[in-house]
């Protein structure tokens, strides 16, 4: 039996009467990369917040297999194998980069020694070994994003949710990140949900796309098909995509 999938069922989120998400369902299986796209304000980040429990649900539920995730405490959600990064990076700025990554491993029950070894390996994978002893707050924007992803991975998540991981990175950095991310599902067996505005990154990385507009799903499916979907083109890609 394969590992269970992350099932988001009919989720709704309200902010003082405004429906930010209105009955969105989504499945993320281990080993696949799903792109969550949509115009600004369509509810992408809210969707990740709803999955990880940062905003209360006005309806629907989030499951991993038979286990309900919605309503659990942040620690329980993390222990169920859900990790995320943020659109605005949230490192522990006054702690060493190594400690940042270590903290996540420790929270999941690693011993000090194992956590340190794991953190070093992860930092090495992101080419950040030379910054291990620097304070989190002293890093460049792109490096902070990589540390945040390394920290999320230190929890050995079953599902990793990345909110604009490539924002603020230059082309070379984005390219390097793409290769690391593309390898994750296979090497770790995790399911990856990724929000980004860089369409070329999304198209090259993702197996499936899920498109939101005004808090509703307007399309989902294989990346090439979604790209041709008229509703998507109208709502999101605009006239440029039609010409392409």
């Amino acid at each position: 039996m394969a590992n269970p999938s992350l099932e988001v069922v009919d989720v709704a989120v309200e902010f003082s009467g405004l429906r930010a998400l209105n009955g969105v369902s989504l499945t993320l299986s281990p080993g696949e990369i799903v792109g969550l796209i949509g115009p600004n304000g369509s509810g992408k980040t809210t969707m990740i917040n709803a999955i990880t429990g940062q905003v209360p649900l006005a309806g629907g539920r989030v499951m991993i297999g038979n286990k309900q995730i919605s309503g659990l405490t942040p620690r329980e959600v993390a222990l169920q194998g859900l990790s995320r990064s943020f659109q605005i990076v949230r490192l522990f700025n006054n702690m060493a980069v190594l400690d940042n990554v270590e903290a996540a491993a420790l929270a999941h029950g690693s011993s000090l020694r194992a956590a340190r070894a794991k953190a070093l390996t992860l930092l090495d994978g992101f080419n950040l070994s030379h910054r291990a002893d620097d304070l989190g707050g002293s890093l460049s924007y792109g490096d902070k994003r990589r540390v945040e992803i390394a920290r999320a991975l230190a929890a050995d998540p079953a599902f990793l949710l990345l909110d604009e991981p490539a924002a603020g990175m230059n082309e070379a950095e984005t390219e390097a990140l793409l290769h690391i991310l593309a390898a994750l599902p296979r090497s770790r067996g995790l399911g990856l949900l990724i929000i980004d505005h860089d369409m070329s990154l999304i198209m090259r990385l993702c197996d499936r796309l899920h498109v939101l507009a005004f808090g509703k799903t307007i399309a989902e499916g294989r990346a090439e098909d979604v790209r041709k979907n008229p509703a998507v083109i109208e709502a999101y890609l605009g006239s440029e995509a039609i010409r392409a």
Binding site: P74, A78, R90, F92, N94, D99, N100, L106, A107, L112
Partner: protein
């Protein structure tokens, strides 16, 4: 030369006590961004425990250990009684509950023990003096310095090199993020209160050892000292609290040496004037700590 040494011992012993008091307050503040106004009562609890076990005939160190243990338990109790039920609500609510808990404990001591000072057993060393390079100084000052050095060292090691320390630093920087990574929030907060109680218990015994008696309001001055030290040092960093403690002791000691007899009555007025000047110069305290001072 002897004067310099005398001055140094006075500053370090007073500063060591102040620094430990401040550290005990800021360890909780760092994580919750809430001041525990019942902090002084942890010192009171240690004092009265020492008084109550005074006639037991146990070795003094055992009695002192029991007193510190009770302060730790009182610290954890503060979390459960005054903080946890209202923690997620408003800051005002916790302000009131921690004041209420403080008043409750003080009045319990008034009611069940006595409003009058009670003698606590202290080892003879606390009232002896020793000559050190021509300077006659009370032994308790040297004990205080030694205790401060050891505790600050242990504390630094704990925060840097242990699982609990790393988790607590993460929680102090960004509590929400730490929770999302899987750091157990309640355990971390209770641990902070326990450490707060440990520091209050030890510094309480040293503090009470200077006068040898305990009264219900014994914790008021240490709370004030700790609060001022953390404010001038920087409420957001542990190092700031220690620095603030030593700085406050330097100010107090300097004033003790320089003010005339008539003016010495107003020493606190001078101290607070200087504190105000420091805050005008650096409103956020001397050391800027991690992240924001906001609750996360």
């Amino acid at each position: 030369m002897t004067f310099a040494l005398q001055f140094l011992i006075d500053v370090l012993s007073l500063g060591g006590a102040y620094a430990l008091m401040a550290l005990g307050l800021v360890i909780v503040y760092g994580i919750l961004k809430l001041v525990n106004f019942a902090y002084g009562e942890l010192i009171m609890v240690a004092g009265y425990t020492l008084f109550l076990v005074g006639g037991s005939g146990l070795p003094w160190l055992v009695m002192a250990a029991v007193a510190v243990l009770m302060a730790v338990i009182a610290g954890i109790l503060t979390d459960y009684v005054a903080f946890r039920p209202v923690r997620a609500k408003s800051v005002t609510a916790v302000l009131i509950t921690s004041f209420a808990f403080s008043t409750l404990l003080q009045n319990a001591a008034l009611l069940f023990i006595s409003p009058r000072p009670r003698n606590v057993p202290m080892p003879a060393a606390f009232s002896q003096t020793v000559e050190l390079a021509g300077v006659i100084t009370p032994v308790r000052n040297l004990i205080t310095i030694a205790a401060a050095v050891v505790l600050l060292g242990v504390f630094t090691f704990l925060m840097r090199r242990t699982v609990l320390g790393i988790a607590m630093r993460a929680a102090a920087t960004n509590f929400t993020m730490a929770r999302m990574l899987g750091v157990p929030a309640n355990l971390i907060i209770s641990s902070a209160f326990a450490i707060s109680g440990l520091l209050a218990g030890i510094v309480g015994i040293l503090w009470i050892g200077r006068i040898g008696t305990v009264v219900p309001g014994i914790g008021n001055e240490p709370l004030l000292v700790a609060f001022i030290a953390t404010v001038i040092g920087g409420m957001r960093s542990l190092g700031g609290a220690v620095l603030g403690g030593f700085l406050l002791a330097l100010i107090d000691t300097t004033l003790n040496y320089t003010l005339s007899q008539e003016l010495l009555k107003f020493r606190d007025a001078f101290t607070f004037s200087l504190v105000i000047l420091i805050l005008l110069w650096r409103p956020e305290g001397l050391l800027k700590g991690p992240a924001t001072g906001q609750r996360t």
